[in-house]
């Protein structure tokens, strides 16, 4: 004979009696509320008094010459892109290194493919002269 008064929660993840989604949801809402409050206060408490001079770009007290959007040398862009790519690579490798005990050899091989592909890309960029710094390029 089965026991009669067994408590069967309807949606167990939201049960207040067990660790689950409810705690997370409450936490999430508090974070949202605090963020909203901070954003509101920093917007509300600041009194903006825009004047034409204040809205101008600061250039050592002198009126700037020409546009802020000027043509700039390509190497700056290339450097930025390369940095982005290899930065992302680092992020993956870090995450992978943290999980090394669980992943073992198969994980190692999978990551190796990723690194080798990127390495090939770097070699190609190097060979093409993408890493050479020529400031006149693109002007």
């Amino acid at each position: 004979m089965p026991p009669e008064n067994v408590f069967v929660p309807l949606a167990s993840p939201f049960s207040p009696w067990e660790p689950g989604a409810l705690g997370f949801t409450v936490f999430f809402c508090i974070v949202l509320a605090i963020l909203a409050l901070i954003l509101f206060l920093s917007g509300f408490l600041v009194r903006r008094r825009p004047t034409p001079e204040k809205q101008r770009p600061y250039e050592c007290g002198i009126l700037p010459t020409g546009q802020g959007r000027f043509r700039y040398p390509v190497p700056f862009f290339l450097m930025a892109v390369f940095f982005l790519i290899f930065d992302v690579e680092t992020a993956y490798i870090m995450a992978y290194a943290a999980a090394w005990p669980e992943l073992g050899l198969p994980g190692y091989l999978r990551l190796a493919v990723f690194v080798v592909v990127l390495g090939l890309g770097l070699a190609y960029a190097w060979k093409k002269g993408g890493l050479d710094w020529n400031e006149e390029q693109g002007l």
Binding site: E53, Y58, C60, G61, I62, T65, G66, R71, E135
Partner: protein, 790 residues
């Protein structure tokens, strides 16, 4: 009666005010001398962090206190206005120092007589310059003002009422301020003594005084040879002036000046390789009018056979034209531009005949005798005037040196790394500097004009401020020139004390250099060490002179008072401590690989270029030229001292740094010798015709008292003539060229400064470098603004 709402918001007001007043963030904005004391306040001994204001912000967006430290120049006023506008609200303004408060001692055409005429000032700090303690007093007053007067809660909560931030209004001359230093009510009454100065000299008492003629020099054999060579080559077009007081002087026919200069540089028996100075004299207010209205004066220096020569060209009118010397010396470019704007003369064939120091739209030629010198006699400087004198566009400064594809960047006048209000317009290709355009004159204080209305003694305080980190060393250049002109012998005790003080100031200057140079390279700590040692030097200087930056301590023929009791112990203690500190610097900095990477091989200049452009001082010695005026053409007591002239090769940033480090060691040697061999005796010359009597004598006998009275009131009459004397100031060779008409003040006073020539050569060094290297070059180059703009 307190409003009920005021009472309701009082606790919140109190809290907001408390937070604001204890975290005032000053704007990193310095105009001149006062900023040195402001920076010292940030240093280790004074430590402004105790008052919550150590965060000096480089951008106006992050700052809420504008400390106007220094002289508000008409040329920089539009910049200061804009920077104030760009600061975050609520904001406050402290006016630091007499210049900023009222124009101070600079009642001159280029200076605003009080920054409160254009900016709303909350607190005034008196002093010239105010000590760091005075700055703290000002800061505390501002804190009190905030706590007592502001009710910020309601503005913060967008409710009506309440108040926050400093004043918003500026003062208007004749309505709520008076520019007359005597106070209101004197309108139309000229300042005392005006009539006795040029252009009319009515009632000048010097006419009734007699002085012996100025001393004359006898030509050395090598100078005779030059004279003979010139006479042979040019015949009647070059004439040796018979009564040269300081160096051989030739009157040259204007049509042949370029040929004569070229010969002296390239073909004469003694080669004069440096154009020391080029200036002019307006002759229209002479007591005895010569047949011409203007004279152009060229001063040349020979480095191979230490000696100088002067050439004068008489021009019929003040609008006359003369051939440009830029073909012989490229360095003539700026000198000629300055003469052209100051006197109205024209230089035919000049590659770039624009105004140099004054604004493009400036009216008139300030150094003409009939041009108004006092700002208080001119219309008040207003905000509208500031808008009119808006600094010119960078593209205009660069001219043909910039292309359409270049990115134009203004570097200064307000910038951490410019070490003063100097503006570089950079044409950039990426990070690389393609061309540098210089815009100077933001710090033009018109001292040459002032020199023509102050008596010979009265001018001494102005010399201190020409290179505001070198104090007494500046006095020395000026009094040496006066002493040359009048033939005054300086007693040995004074001569030694002058040497000692000059070297102490060299140390103080180089210590500041050491700190700021490395700070600009991104090394934060050295400045704290350097300021610690600098305070020790300043303590000695203060014990002896009573002042820190501007002691105005030297007098014609000696110094203001005898050395006080206890000076020797202080100097001895310092001499003992300092070598160890120097070792510390070398250990921490000189071997630092990052410093080396930033400096070695960066921004070099060749010896030939440096000489050709008139570069002097440590910057010249860093290029491998062993030329030091203290050794080559000794003045004062320097011939008695044993010291070396440190040099380096290559003239790069690292060489410039090392030369200065070595110079500190040599200065210390000189100080040690001066202290141990200090002679006894008088500290002022007995020649009371020109010099003040010693104070104890003036208090004891009536004769000395009379001399004292005459010399401090109407001033001594110096013989008619001209003299140039240069000294090896910390930053290079600083010379004073004095022209006397036999009056109690200079007829023409010209300051030849090292900075002017050094900075003119800067594009040579900087073009082709990257921006970060440019900062290293500026920091290692060690210039100072009043020394460039005067």
């Amino acid at each position: 009666m307190t409003d009920i709402r005021d009472a309701a918001f009082a606790p919140a007001d109190y809290i907001i005010n408390w937070a604001r007043k204890n975290s005032l963030w000053p704007f990193f904005f310095g105009l001149s001398c006062c900023f040195v004391e402001e920076a010292t306040a940030w240093g280790p001994r004074y430590d402004i962090a105790r008052f919550g204001s150590e965060v000096f912000r480089g951008s106006p967006r992050q700052a809420d206190v504008l400390i106007i430290s220094g002289t508000m120049f008409k040329k920089v006023a539009p910049v200061a206005l804009r920077l104030y506008e760009q600061m975050a609200d609520p904001k406050w303004v402290i006016s630091m120092g007499s210049c900023s408060n009222s124009g101070g001692m600079y009642d001159v055409y280029s200076v605003v007589q009080g920054s409160d005429q254009i900016l709303p000032v909350d607190v005034y700090i008196p002093g010239c310059p105010p000590r760091p303690e005075a700055l703290f007093e000002g800061l505390l007053l501002l804190q009190k003002k905030i706590a007592a007067g502001e009710r910020p809660t309601r503005p913060v909560l967008h409710l009506p009422g309440g108040c926050e931030g400093g004043r918003r209004d500026h003062l208007i001359d004749g309505v709520n301020k008076c520019r007359d230093t005597r106070g209101p009510g004197y309108a139309g009454i000229p300042i005392r003594g005006t009539a006795a100065t040029e252009p009319f000299f009515h009632g000048s008492r010097t006419a009734g005084m007699w002085t012996p003629a100025a001393p004359r020099i006898a030509l050395r054999p090598d100078q005779e040879a030059v004279a003979a060579d010139l006479l042979a080559a040019f015949g009647e077009d070059v004439a040796l002036v018979p009564d040269s007081q300081d160096m051989p002087t030739y009157a040259v026919a204007p049509a042949r000046i370029v040929e004569v200069l070229d010969r002296l540089k390239h073909a004469s028996p003694t080669r004069f390789t440096r154009l020391e100075d080029l200036t002019a004299i307006d002759e229209t207010a002479r007591k005895d009018r010569p047949g011409h209205d203007a004279t152009v004066v060229y001063t040349l220096t020979s480095l191979s056979a230490p000696g100088m020569v002067r050439l004068t060209c008489a021009l019929p009118t003040r609008d006359a034209s003369i051939a440009s010397a830029t073909g012989v010396w490229p360095a003539a470019a700026w000198y000629e531009r300055e003469v052209a704007e100051m006197f109205g003369l024209a230089f035919a064939g000049h590659p770039d005949p624009r105004r140099l120091l004054t604004h493009r739209d400036w009216q008139g030629h300030p150094l003409r005798k009939d041009s108004e010198g006092r700002a208080t006699n001119m219309a008040p400087f207003t905000e509208e005037e500031a808008r009119r004198l808006e600094p010119v566009d960078a593209r205009e400064i660069l001219g043909p040196h910039a292309d359409d594809g270049d990115y134009i960047l203004n570097f200064g006048p307000h910038h951490y790394a410019t070490h003063g209000i100097l503006r570089y317009a950079l044409a950039l290709r990426g990070e690389r500097i393609k061309a540098v355009g210089l815009d100077i004159g933001y710090h033009h204080r018109g001292v040459e004009k002032i020199g023509e209305r102050q008596t010979w003694h009265q001018f001494i305080p102005y010399t201190d401020r020409v290179d505001y980190l070198s104090g007494v060393a500046n006095n020395l250049s000026y009094v040496t020139a006066v002493e040359t002109l009048a033939g005054i012998a300086v007693p040995p005790r004074a001569a030694y004390a002058r040497v000692m003080l000059s070297e102490l100031f060299r140390l103080s200057n180089h210590l500041m250099y050491f700190g700021t140079f490395l700070q600009d390279l991104g090394m934060m700590s050295p400045i704290f060490y350097a300021l610690r040692e600098r305070e020790m030097v300043l303590d000695i200087i203060e014990t002896i002179t009573g002042g820190r930056l501007h002691p105005s301590w030297l007098r014609i023929g000696g110094m203001a008072a005898d050395l006080p009791e206890g000076w020797k112990e202080m100097v001895d203690a310092f001499v003992k401590i300092f070598p160890g500190r120097l070792k510390e610097y070398h250990a921490g900095v000189t071997k630092n690989p990052i410093v080396r990477a930033r400096c070695v091989g960066v921004g070099g200049i060749s010896a030939a270029d440096a000489i050709d452009w008139g570069v002097t001082g440590p910057n010249l010695r860093a290029a491998g030229v062993a030329w030091d005026r203290r050794k080559a053409m000794p003045y004062g007591a320097y011939a008695d001292f044993d010291f070396d002239v440190p040099t380096r090769e290559g003239g790069d940033c690292f060489a410039r740094y090392l030369v200065r480090m070595d110079e500190m060691e040599q200065s210390l040697r000189i100080i040690e010798q001066a202290a141990s061999n200090m002679p006894g005796g008088r500290y002022l010359s007995e020649d009371v015709r020109y010099c003040l009597p010693q104070k104890d004598e003036a208090l004891r006998d009536i004769e000395s008292l009379i001399h004292h009275f005459v010399n401090v009131t109407r001033g001594p009459r110096l013989p008619a003539g001209q003299a140039y004397a240069a000294t090896e100031a910390p930053r290079g060779e600083q010379g004073y060229y004095l022209v006397s008409d036999g009056g109690s003040h200079a007829y023409r006073l010209r300051v030849r400064t090292p900075g002017f020539a050094n900075i003119q050569a800067l594009p040579l060094i900087a073009e082709g470098l990257r921006i970060a290297d440019f900062v290293a070059v500026l920091a290692s180059y060690d210039y100072i603004l009043p020394d460039i703009d005067r």
